[in-house]
Assembly symmetry: C2
Homo-oligomer: 408 residues x 2
């Protein structure tokens, strides 16, 4: 039995005309001899609408009840789509998370998948040609409905593909693949045929909304090739997969950017053991994620600590830092909400030097000042003044000649 997992997002299930296009994709897979596991999201906006509803009903809505409420969005999608398939003579049925079951832990609202009963799916696929599975949802061991958090349907699809073993996974969306950078910013942006899990993770964490980060982590862990495609075209899309020999030749795959950055600098704090913990513990206790961090060299026993946070957290971060400075000493707290992060991403840079130098030189050429730098094995990120974001993206895209299919 050859099984294909196809996942369709909220815009693809928004109305009956779009779901007829989805049916076309499913039929094409059936014609190729596959049994198909279709994973659907709730229609666009439905989950937010239900979340809004729950906050109108209770100051702190019970998370288990919220999950039971939210899961109705996908439940409606899969019931309606199964009707549509059956109506055109396709042997199909819907399956909810608890019916398979997809067992998760009990962290309601952001549950993690623990196990999937693949034997049940195989059994149902003997009686049906298509199973229409609710994305985003699972069930605890004792039968309470859970949801997997934002974009959880991608994770559902990849987890099903992993559980069904050596199966392909197609993620259909409203874009036709992964690009070298945001085509809205850079007209020469080019669709990538392949990208590694690691590169996809870096791009996703920078706000490239093609795939949810956790689904890519899942795909990487279980080595599930994920095919990102458009519901609305027959374009082959982008394959997200393991690094292979061909890909190693590619130095840089893409340029990403993130405008949801704000900078905080705590000035003149005493440079002694434990000071970092004193600064960052209150942030994590308040659920504030810190992205880039720089500590300037100590001078006369004091140092400046600079970090970036999401803009929504800036005010709270400033307040917390002022409290710390009042307690442990320091000359003040500065901040800048108008910064952005641009990143050069590519697995190829593991084995090559000079990528950073080339990036810095290109930005300097345009008089773009680099405020902070952070690097990983496959990424170089620069914090810059927000107003240069578009220019920086285009400059780096040109510098690494990403418009050329054979860039290296």
């Amino acid at each position: 039995m050859r099984i294909l997992v196809q996942k369709f997002g909220g815009t693809s299930v928004a109305d009956i005309d779009r779901l007829k296009m989805v049916r076309g994709k499913v039929k094409a897979a059936l014609d190729q001899g596959y049994k198909v596991v279709v994973v659907l999201s709730a229609k666009s906006g439905k989950t937010n609408k239900l979340l809004d509803l729950s906050t109108r009903w209770a100051a702190e809505p019970d998370l288990a009840e919220v999950d039971s409420l939210l899961s109705t969005g996908e439940q409606a999608s899969i019931a309606l789509f199964s009707m549509l398939l059956k109506d055109s003579g396709i042997k199909a049925r819907s399956m909810l998370g608890w019916q398979i079951p997809i067992i998760t832990n009990d962290e309601f609202g952001r549950a993690r998948i623990l196990s999937i009963d693949a034997s049940r799916i195989h059994k149902e696929l003997e009686a049906h040609d298509v199973l229409v599975v609710a994305g985003f949802q699972g069930s605890t061991e004792d039968g309470r409905i859970t949801t997997l958090g934002r974009g959880g349907s991608d994770t559902s699809a990849v987890a099903l593909a992993a559980a069904l073993d050596s199966c392909e996974c197609e993620i259909y969306t409203d874009v036709d693949g992964v690009y070298t950078t945001d085509p809205n910013l850079c007209s020469t942006a080019r669709k990538l045929d392949r990208v590694t899990y690691e590169e996809m993770l870096e791009m996703a964490s920078m706000g490239a909304k093609v795939l949810q980060i956790r689904s890519v982590e899942f795909a990487k862990k279980y080595n599930v090739p994920v095919h990102v495609r458009s519901t609305f075209s027959d374009d082959p899309g982008t394959l997200v997969a393991q690094e292979d020999a061909m890909m190693e030749a590619v130095l840089v795959s893409g340029i990403a950017y993130d405008k949801d950055q704000a900078r905080v600098t705590v000035c003149g704090v005493p440079d002694r053991p434990g000071v970092s913990a004193a600064l960052f513990a209150p942030l994590s206790e308040n659920g504030i994620m810190v992205d880039m961090i720089i500590q300037t060299a100590s001078r006369e026993g004091v140092t400046d600590m600079t970090f970036t946070v999401s803009r929504k957290d800036l005010e709270k971060a400033i307040q917390l830092m002022k409290e710390i400075v009042a307690r442990i000493g320091g000359t003040g707290v500065e901040h800048d909400p108008y910064v952005a992060k641009v990143s050069v991403i590519g697995v190829g840079m593991r084995n090559h030097t000079g990528v950073a130098t080339k990036a810095f030189a290109a930005l300097q050429q345009e008089n773009i000042n680099i405020q902070m730098i952070s690097t990983s094995e496959i990424k170089i990120s620069c914090l810059i003044d927000e107003k240069y974001t578009e220019l920086a993206v285009r400059t780096l895209h040109d510098a690494f000649e990403l418009h050329k299919p054979d860039h290296a």
Copy 2:
């Protein structure tokens, strides 16, 4: 553990203000020392909206998928109400049909309850003070969601009360009880303090929409006292229960009417064995319910057969009868869509004579012609010209002095 089952219908869960009134009813029961099982419907109109949606998606929507879709209405109600309860400090949780489970057969859209796991409910009631259970839904043995048909939430409530043993069952609605007749037709209509299951069944079958027929049958079978009350008042309502000594004194409990009647007469058919079957078999094969039937005395080997059907079925019934007459002989098919049935209902008439005579005389006094008569142990029904319906109801209500609390 004293357990009270409280059921609230679609108008009671329509918005947050109404559900706060529902919460008031639940709190009152908690204050009396009960653990409470709350059964909720989907909010008014939701089930119809979802049904309409499914027929837009498929010419013949798959019934199992329709049930999974419809069940989301109650799922939303119970999640939201549980949030509301928890928000005011009440230990509560929602439970879906499959979570208990409420096991039904697999007649999707009109499933019948086979069993309810009461031990699970008792266990949950040790950890919680209130369980908020989805009405109208259950699950097959192999875990597919089913619904119980129109008004199924009443049945859910009564079945839960029966399963939890010797428990009371309150059905909250937007009327404050069961009346001697429709107060819109008859200003002297009086709310009954008690009514028997049998009387309630006759009234419900005549379109008194206070309780769904199947729920009354269920209550009768398991002897569950059902208390019909209003969500929007503190009025004691009407108790639907077994006949007792006090009730036997009551001759007539109420006057019901049904305008959804149409008369068909098949004239001059040969009066020989098998002719009734020939006439009625095609009707039942086409799903047409026949209510009253009269066969006139045979004359010269031919007879007239008169029966009533629901108005929506009249055209089809006439067509079928014309086909029969063409095949077995007969002089024609007459019909009258403008008829109504008025009924006198009371368990007391089992042990008393003269009720029918009194009813006929009262109608005759007003020159209302009786076209057909049918009787049961506790009911006398007369088919009359529709335009006399209101007059007939008031006349019979007066004749049996139903405005008096101590009528006998």
